[in-house]
Symmetry: C2
Subunit: 187 residues, 2 copies
């Protein structure tokens, strides 16, 4: 999304890749020892990760509107929001691994409930603050769009929109941005 | 560590707190919906998280040597190293939960092995680059010190020093810094 918002998409080659918590992806492990995506190989041959670091780097490569605000209250609000949405996604991926990858006999209900509590608490925090966002679309809102899209993709049955009308309305509007549309997970 | 390195320690009130992936810490949940530590309540009453965001914020509050380098290659090397060490710690905490919190009958060997592979791969990456660090001690090295200290605390039997003599020597030296000594986990 950030590459598209900043006009850098044509300068970034995107590679389809599959990762698993239990099967090593060796080509990816050579670039990122954490074996996670995204990872970005820069023109000078160094590899950057994770998503937040890649985005901040890409944001230095263009002359347009910055998606990482300059140091000050606005920057730390955006970074905090980015960390919130990143944490929601981490918890959602842990849920997904628990209910879809771990052998059924080894699943632990309390674990899923604990992670789900973080996700729902995080969504409630987004619902509470979304009316202050206006038309802002910085690294924090990018994270929020990723959260909404991922939950629709993997946990549609949770019906995250229930009780969160403002966040739902924001995402309905935001999902129309080309950067969000073009990077949406398959429906 | 960053508060101590930058002379801010006396301006930060530290609160002991316990978290669990399956039991909600309600006072913490009110500050951080992800229910993770650290969280920092600023003088203006906002709460910041996670660690990387708190550290970058604190780094703006002092006039001394910055632990977040200014934008440029040095900054992105430091942020990438911070993300690497943060990812190693995430994997180590997941291992800890699997072997110490999850009921024994529900543990999955492949999961621990997958997370351990990320940790050991990450340590190998640190071993490969540690000789380029010299006396640098920025946010990347803070992360590396946290990794070494946490592994000694929780997984001493893994003997992470074996085959990583340069990282071991670096941590032996680094563990003498007051900021590292004063924040070390109990031995």
């Amino acid at each position: 999304m950030l590459a598209r918002e900043t006009g850098l998409a044509t300068r970034v080659e995107e590679i389809d890749i599959a990762v698993s918590p239990v099967a090593l992806n060796e080509p990816l492990a050579r670039e990122n020892p954490l074996v996670k995506i995204p990872a970005l190989v820069t023109d000078s041959g160094e590899t950057l990760y994770d998503s937040a670091v890649i985005c901040e780097y890409l944001d230095t490569l263009h002359a347009g509107r910055k998606l990482f605000p300059a140091p000050g209250p606005q920057r730390f609000a955006a970074l905090r929001r980015q960390a919130l949405t990143d944490g929601i996604l981490d918890a959602a991926v842990l849920c997904r691994y628990e209910v879809a990858v771990r052998p059924e006999a080894l699943r632990w209900k309390d674990w899923v409930e604990g992670q789900k509590r973080k996700i729902l608490g995080g969504l409630d925090a987004l619902e509470a603050e979304v009316t202050t966002w206006g038309d802002d679309f910085d690294i924090g809102q990018i994270g929020a769009a990723c959260v909404c899209g991922y939950l629709d993709f993997r946990f549609a049955d949770w019906n995250w929109r229930a009780g969160r009308p403002r966040l739902a309305a924001w995402f309905e509007r935001t999902a129309q941005r080309p950067s969000v549309k073009e990077t949406a997970p398959p429906s």
